[in-house]
């Protein structure tokens, strides 16, 4: 909060931290850790600008949610252990240059809406902001007509699945039904997600969208229901459209040259120059 009173310092620190997180994501760091950092970076300054108490409550809830997720994943690992496969897939190694290029691209997409929300204290736009940050982690996927269309379709599919599940939960808003319905949908999406197809990650993205919508929109986990549910779907669709439009614009040959030149200049300022766009 102290730094927040100095906009220039805050802007530099915020941008630098965002860049580091996207760089770590591009270098293949744990998706869970990257997601935690991204959510914390996006949520806490925005909430803290309006209320420090709210930021504290969110930090506490966030920590509990992360611990819960870890404990449940460990339990799921015990129930269904990983089978060692002889043909193990090797981690794709990404060079510093490629990672820096990807992180710089992600930062350029995320920074404008993040600063807009921070400047005007738009706490209501937290969900689309988070979606933008999460989806911008893999900027290469959403570029091009086919990739962009696929991403929009996947998130619309997730929204549609959320509407169906939401109305089913409204019929019987009980714990066993909600959990069993979620498990059934997870099995359906999981079947597609673990296929060896290039479109497989889209199913994961669609399911995450569905989980966010169901979790934040139902009485089960959230505070409000019906009216805000469709508003959230609209917000997420807007966020996805923004991602696709921003990445398509940044990949336009003339625009690309301009932002790559800025990236190269900035990378020369740092001792451990990553050399953006030199590769």
């Amino acid at each position: 909060m102290y730094i927040y009173q100095y906009p220039a310092v805050f802007l530099l620190l915020f941008s630098w931290l965002l860049f580091l997180v996207f760089y770590a994501a591009a270098r293949g760091r744990s998706a869970f850790v990257v997601l935690l950092y991204l959510m914390a970076l996006m949520m806490l300054p925005l909430l803290g600008s309006s209320s420090v108490d709210m930021a504290n409550i969110v930090s506490y809830g966030f920590l509990l949610a992360a611990l819960t997720a870890l404990a449940c994943v460990m339990l799921a690992q015990i129930l269904f252990p990983v089978i060692e496969d002889a043909t193990e897939t090797q981690a794709v190694s990404v060079s510093n240059t490629e990672a820096a290029y990807s992180a710089w691209l992600s930062l350029l997409v995320v920074l404008p809406p993040a600063l807009l929300c921070l400047l005007f204290g738009m706490t209501g736009a937290l969900l689309p902001l988070l979606m933008i940050a999460i989806l911008a982690q893999k900027p290469d996927f959403a570029t091009g007509a086919a990739g962009g269309k696929a991403l929009i379709l996947a998130n619309l599919g997730g929204g549609l699945a959320a509407v169906l599940l939401y109305h089913l939960i409204l019929i019987s808003p009980t714990l066993p039904f909600t959990v069993l319905a979620l498990v059934a949908v997870a099995l359906m999406f999981g079947t597609r997600l673990f296929e060896d197809k290039p479109t497989a990650p889209l199913w994961g993205s669609a399911f995450s969208t569905m989980l966010v919508l169901i979790g934040s929109g139902t009485g089960a986990f959230g505070d409000e229901a019906d009216a805000k549910f469709y508003q959230r779907i609209f917000q997420i669709t807007l966020a996805v459209c923004y991602i696709v439009a921003a990445l398509s614009l940044l990949h336009h040959p003339r625009v690309k040259d301009a932002w790559l030149a800025v990236g190269r200049k900035l990378s020369r300022l740092t001792p451990n120059s990553a050399g953006i766009g030199n590769g």
């Binding site: 869970f32 969110v58 997720a69 269904f80 997600l193 989980l211 979790g215």
Partner: protein, 45 residues
């Protein structure tokens, strides 16, 4: 679909189901994030 893929799908669904149950029962602030985080961890191949 091989056995390891089936295990991965079951693990994915079980992890999300467990996280959703805990989130529903404890109902702490931001508890709905727990299944999303669990899905994020378990979707890694």
């Amino acid at each position: 679909m091989d056995h390891s893929s089936r295990q991965a799908i079951l693990r994915y669904a079980a992890g999300i189901g467990l996280a959703a149950t805990v989130a529903y029962v404890l109902a702490f602030p931001l508890s709905f994030v727990a299944p999303v985080l669990a899905a994020s961890i378990l979707s890694a191949k």
